[in-house]
Amino acid sequence: MTASILDGIVLGLQFGVLASGLTLVYGLGGVLNLAYGQMAVISALVVLLTMDAGVPAVPAALLGLLAGGLLGWLFDATILRPVYRRKGEARVLLSLLLTLGVAFIVDGYLNWAYPLRGLSLRIGGDAVEILGVRMRMGSLAASGITLVVLAVLFYVFRYTRLGRAIRSVIENEQGAKLVGIDPPQMLRLILILSGVLAAVVAVTRSMVAPVNVQAGFSLTVLGLIVTVVGGLGSITGAFLAGLVLGIINSIAAAYIGTFLSLIILLVAAGFTILIRPAGLLGVRE
């Protein structure tokens, strides 16, 4: 049981980072990015190919993060342009359709060009015993990185000028404009950030289990479930929901079976929404 919970925390922290990227883009811009998992996969592939070329893991991983950021910027500059011209529900729907299209194309191409490839970052060192459970270095390194990323995100959003400006757009876009904040500029920043976060998930995930080129959709779906449970537009919500669902997932996988864990996650998400329609800490209803 302790082992499942610890595994769940490792997974949950990654869920938290994964959902942060989705939830911020939705909270700020009303855009739902269904190609989010593919962003992570492309970043993983960049790391993989760079390492194939003989580059060590750390610079390759950093290049992967850069690739993620570039993808976010590219999304903002290209396929999201027509989305930004629409408002409210039409915007969400168009973003769903366009990013889904991109996701299919990317998935198809990757399966054809790099079939069965996957990124596995091996972190050396002996396993460490925590609470009587032997944890691999890879899991610990992944958790350390995700914790730092979440802490930095939290700090920036809560205490800095930039973080305040971004939250102000989520709370009241007109009000943000009145004080001189340019919402499109903030949205571009957030898309770049979401790309970097997708890459962080790809890299940390690959320290625990391989990230295959066809993992895109399952990452997006997991991200969506965590986002919905955590509440749209809330990083703290994404973090909490990530941990809860990560632990549920691990326990379910250990005691019931991996094949059912996604269904159990969906049921858990369904119950949360029944009790709290805006999610644990939702901003927008």
């Binding site: 000028r161 305040r164 939250r167 709370e171 009000g175 009145l178 004080v179 001189g180």
Partner: protein
């Protein structure tokens, strides 16, 4: 300071404002008086770049600002407080004020000035804006606008939804700002209150300016007296 010439604007192709012209000089407090639906809000939204105008020109501090989006107008020194206030409800009073100074960090001098003007905000620094009363939210909206150290403060119906006592308090605060040399433009339905603290005024009816003059002239005008002051 502000020069509006032949401004027309509206929604979905039909103009609400017709050829509106007026000006505000530095240091003046000017009122736009009009009943509900006269076009005051449309006028201010067009003025501040929240609504595109169909014709006319807005010049602010010698610069043509017609059609410039609202997020850039603030940087030029014009702060707008709409009747809806557009606060950040889940953020604290302090955070709302800090955002008013964006892109700068709030400086001590301006913060002190704002908190001296509205001591209630000082008491509620850590309270979330959305949980405050209407009067306090209005103070916060004006305070947030002042944090940008504007040359011109534009207020759309600052007394909307306020009890008479709070409305008087709001105008006392404006009086203090006016005494400090701030240039102020206000749209108002509460005409007696408004004319008492302003230098000049314009009467807006059905989207056009029908009358203008100093506050004394307007207070004495029989049309204003019967339509807005309840005197027959």
């Amino acid at each position: 300071m502000l020069e509006v010439a032949g401004l027309s604007a509206g929604y979905q192709g039909s103009d609400v404002l017709h050829d509106v012209s007026f000006h505000v000089d530095a240091g003046e407090t000017v009122m736009i008086i009009g009943s509900n639906g006269a076009g005051k809000t449309t006028l201010f939204r067009a003025l501040c770049g929240l609504l595109p105008s169909t014709s006319g020109r807005v010049t602010f501090r010698g610069e043509d600002v017609t059609g410039i989006p609202v997020q850039r107008i603030v940087g030029l020194g014009m702060a707008f407080v709409p009747a809806e206030r557009y606060l950040f409800p889940r953020m604290t009073v302090q955070e709302n004020l800090a955002l008013g100074a964006y892109p700068e960090l709030p400086d001590r001098e301006t913060s002190t000035m704002v908190l001296d003007l509205f001591p209630r905000l000082e008491e509620r620094r850590r309270q979330r804006a959305g949980t405050m009363s209407g009067g306090e939210q209005q103070m916060l909206a004006v305070g947030r606008a002042l944090m940008s150290r504007p040359r011109l403060l534009v207020l759309d119906e600052p007394t909307t939804g306020l009890a008479p006592k709070l409305a008087r308090e709001a105008y006392q605060a404006l009086e203090v700002l006016r005494g400090g040399g701030m240039t102020i433009l206000v749209a108002e339905q509460q005409v007696p209150l408004a004319l008492a603290i302003s230098d000049r005024g314009y009467v807006l009816e059905n989207g056009a300016i029908t009358l203008d003059g100093t506050s004394e002239e307007l207070t004495a005008d029989p049309r204003v007296r019967s339509a807005y002051l309840g005197v027959t």
